[in-house]
Symmetry: C2
Subunit: 570 residues, 2 copies
């Protein structure tokens, strides 16, 4: 492709309303343009990236034996009423009334439609398992669309739905999809983690999210440095410390801590690390009008999801009022602690594992030092109440945890009989019995993958595309070609040679000043750049620059194809 | 692909609600399934056809230098208000209100969105011409969706929009698109015609429809047997007969024609051909309260579009009441004619070219024979008032016309400044002036092409796909494979061999009775069939059958690949 045949709309300024780097760079590089809130046009340069991403997804889904279909984007309300989601889904479901006053929606997902198809087309267990997928435009009427394609209203999605006679078959396809997603994100060239996700009432190992690691990610991910264990920080288990608690060595003493009400204040005032302090939080108990104390190490954060699952604690988790704190402890919030408390108490495993610790004295403006469990207060009831932190042992026993932020780009989920039972999707078993089908579903946000890739791969000059989904693999920039026939001729020759060899090359024939052309191509993020100029030609060479590493090289003019192919193969 | 990995849902019975053959066969062959009125799911087998069709369209558009983009399907009302189509478009525009009560529509077309993009991104005449296209799901809220994908509500469309500084540039891209469409439909393997279309107020050679010829087509197309002239019958010019009118040879006589009120009755009663009779129709004149007589040959049909363009005649064309007929002629409708009429009269060229003709006598139950223009009534004012018929001279002077029915699958149109002026899409010219952009648009109904292909290519056994868009090019059916290990092994060997050579082959491993498997594959319409059985293997051969011609053949087992490649290349 020649730039003269391609609309290149780069912007020098960062658009004011673009908050995250992928949104900024997609606008600046001219990959997308905004039509309305949450609605974007893919420009020619951007669409090349989207289509390459889509092609990788399609190839891998086909390899996994999934069958591509294409369902209508507009779906009748009746099916959503059958699944009981018409009311439940809320205002993110874009509802539509047609000219005959019949209700429809613009599908954000297709469980109902595919289940309706399967209940009509599939009769026998012999036709199962089967896995249908589509790559399609979806709509979700976000209340506040933002971050460009990261949280757009209209977006491109790959959604797949599998159907099974039993859980074992579902598990097999689920595992296949896990492996397929892994291959897809590896082929694209992403640093990602498959993260155990909250499965709600279904339980088990039944849902994974695939997260691209990037500092702008909305979710905090904990993952092992030695295995493929990964989980959302909110869900990652904080392993009980191994070994016995250190023995008490200090005497409990009361110290004045006037105006020191936070862990930070107390620890710096007393010159003890936060990990040697405990913090006490009072919440509503499960039993009516009861109050429960939660105790954590000073450097740890309460995990509310874990806390509210504890049988003593009310869900949703509710902190009690300052008045209730005073009533239960005799002190204000900044000075409370486990010693002498008469209310039920749940202590995080890590907090229960320290000796000689500091805590509030249950007397205003006083703390206790040298406190020990089992001596100064009872041996506590313990539980996992905290968020994991970097350096924690991995729950699978292999290595320690690291924490990173992640962007969810894929989700695989064992649906079980949730939709099939409501829509009465059944097959006849080997023995002639009617049996509800077991389902799985598997999504990839294709347009989101493009944005997430940029979040992970950029620098101050622009996007750094992984080669697999770059709009072009190579750009050839002839320098001052308008002044030099021989540069023009040689550029054309090399361009034709690369094209003929199947290299995905862009010839920059705009005749811009070299600096401007280079800046554009760095912003757009093409992985390999060739620069042809008079000076190089005099020496029989063409310059090469690698976008990601900045590495520069020179290729002999009679060896350009081989040299670039070598770079492409690396 | 193996049939065991592909949902094949053929139906024996023709669904009751499917009126046309493509709809019937797409359902019976399991290519599509209905979700709701005008909404269809593409099944795996059908989607293969759609994707192949789409790929041909994309390749040819790219070759023509068009740039692919992807615009949102949901469009803000504001843009449609700017173009004044929000009110005009009527109930076919599916209007949507989002959660913030803002108005949108599900785009049936994208002139507004692309013009909005261009007015923002393109500033200079140097960036023109440019041609953007997309292949996208559209929605048109048909009042009575029917004929399956022929008139569905949700459908796949290729829409392109070109932008120019002047008419000459537009004409060049228009001509390129004409050639591109011709290549697309040729590659698919369709018998089609590019038909001059009504251009409304724009005029000139500014719009062509591409019609697939098929007996079920909604439009009647007239085309030359000797040139590429083609036009909708409603628009095709009926050429004025050449040469002089034959001389009068008969005397005018009045004959009783009791109860003979139609041309058919009169012509058979008097034993003269209908082409020797004239019929007279009275319509409202352009002048208030006036009545005008239209005279046509008895075998010709009035063309209302042509008639109402005549300056003497009121538009829309309105026939007068029986009372008015009697008042103007003294007779009832079945007995009127041009002789002695005092109202203005317009005579079709062909009717004005006959001598010794028969017409009503303007006296009830009587006709005149041997009537001649210029002798028995004045030399008439003539005009082109009729539909062309097969055998008419082609208006371009080459050959004669044939008439066929056509299905519109593509449309190219010179929009001029219609949208660009309303949306103020301008560029700076070479002299620094601001100038409104000139536009063209170019559509192909991709899903409609699939249906139209079936309308043109089918027989009593099912679909006959042109090879280019067949779901598979070849099907290999092993006969009674469940009983024969050597048939299974040999089938697998041949399947792998064809696959490795890039042949798009389906292995029917369902183990159905041969007759059932064959019937399925004929219904689905795979162009080339290979049948492997014990008997053939004993003779070292595999049977071959060509779907379209029914031609049978045998290939040596050690030569299957070469033999099938030869068939594919034919």
């Amino acid at each position: 492709m020649r730039t003269s045949k391609l609309l290149i709309s780069t912007l020098k300024e960062t658009p004011a309303d673009a908050e995250i780097v992928s949104h900024q760079l997609m606008l600046r590089a001219g990959l997308i343009r905004r039509l309305a809130s949450g609605l974007y046009t893919w420009m020619p340069m951007g669409l090349r990236v989207l289509r390459k991403t889509e092609a990788i997804v399609r190839e891998e889904m086909n390899k996994a034996g999934a069958q591509e279909v294409l369902m209508p984007s507009v779906q009748p309300a009746e099916l959503w009423q059958e699944s009981q989601r018409w009311e439940k889904y809320g205002p993110e479901l874009l509802r539509i009334t047609d000219r005959h006053q019949r209700e429809f929606c613009y599908g954000p997902t297709h469980e109902e439609v595919i289940t309706d198809l399967v209940r009509q087309e599939i009769r026998s267990y012999k036709q199962l398992p089967v896995n249908f997928y589509q790559i399609q435009t979806k709509f979700r009427d976000e209340i506040r669309p933002r971050f460009g394609l990261m949280r757009a209203r209209e977006f491109l999605m790959k959604d797949a739905y599998s159907f099974h006679v039993d859980q074992a078959s579902l598990q097999q396809t689920y595992d296949d999809m896990y492996a397929t997603y892994t291959r897809i994100f590896q082929r694209i060239g992403l640093n990602f983690r498959a993260v155990q996700a909250d499965t709600g009432s279904i339980g088990g190992n039944a849902s994974h999210e695939f997260h691209v690691l990037a500092s702008s990610g909305e979710d905090a991910i904990a993952f092992s440095n030695a295995s493929d264990y990964a989980a959302n920080v909110e869900l990652a288990e904080a392993v009980k410390p191994a070994g016995a608690r250190p023995a008490a060595s200090a005497t409990m003493q009361t110290v004045d801590t006037l105006h020191k009400h936070t862990i930070e204040d107390v620890s710096s005032f007393l010159k003890v690390p936060a990990s040697q302090c405990v913090k006490t939080l009072l919440v509503e108990g499960a039993e009516k009008n009861s109050v429960v104390a939660l105790v954590l190490r000073g450097d740890h954060e309460l995990n509310e999801i874990k806390a509210e699952k504890h049988p003593l604690i009310a869900a949703p988790l509710t902190f009690v009022t300052p008045e209730q704190v005073h009533e239960a402890t005799g002190a204000n919030i900044g000075s409370i602690g486990p010693v002498g408390l008469t209310i039920p108490m749940v202590v995080d495993h890590a907090a229960a594992h320290i000796a000689d610790f500091v805590c509030g004295a249950n007397e205003d403006e006083k703390h206790l030092t040298g406190v020990n469990w089992g001596r100064d207060c009872p041996e506590p009831e313990t539980a996992d109440l905290r968020n994991v932190v970097a350096g924690d042992a991995s729950p699978d026993g292999q290595g320690t945890l690291e924490i990173a932020r992640g962007i969810e780009v894929g989700h695989i989920f064992q649906l079980g009989e949730n939709y099939s039972s409501k829509l009465n999707a059944v097959v006849l078993t080997e023995t002639g019995q009617s049996q509800v089908i077991t389902m799985g579903c598997y999504g990839i946000g294709v347009s989101r993958v493009v944005a997430a890739t940029i979040e992970q791969n950029n620098d101050e000059n622009g996007i750094i595309w992984p080669q697999a989904i770059a709009p072009f693999e190579v750009v050839l920039v002839p320098v001052n070609a308008h002044k030099s026939q021989r540069v023009r001729d040689e550029a054309e020759k090399i361009y034709q040679q690369l094209l003929a060899a199947g290299v995905d090359v862009l010839l920059d024939d705009r005749g811009l000043r070299p600096g401007v052309a280079f800046a554009d191509m760095e912003l757009i993020g093409i992985p390999h750049r060739l620069i042809l100029g008079e000076r190089g030609m005099d020496n029989g060479v063409i310059e090469y620059k690698h976008r990601a590493s900045g590495e520069a090289d020179e290729f002999a003019l009679d060896n350009v194809l081989e040299a670039i192919q070598q770079k492409l193969a690396q």
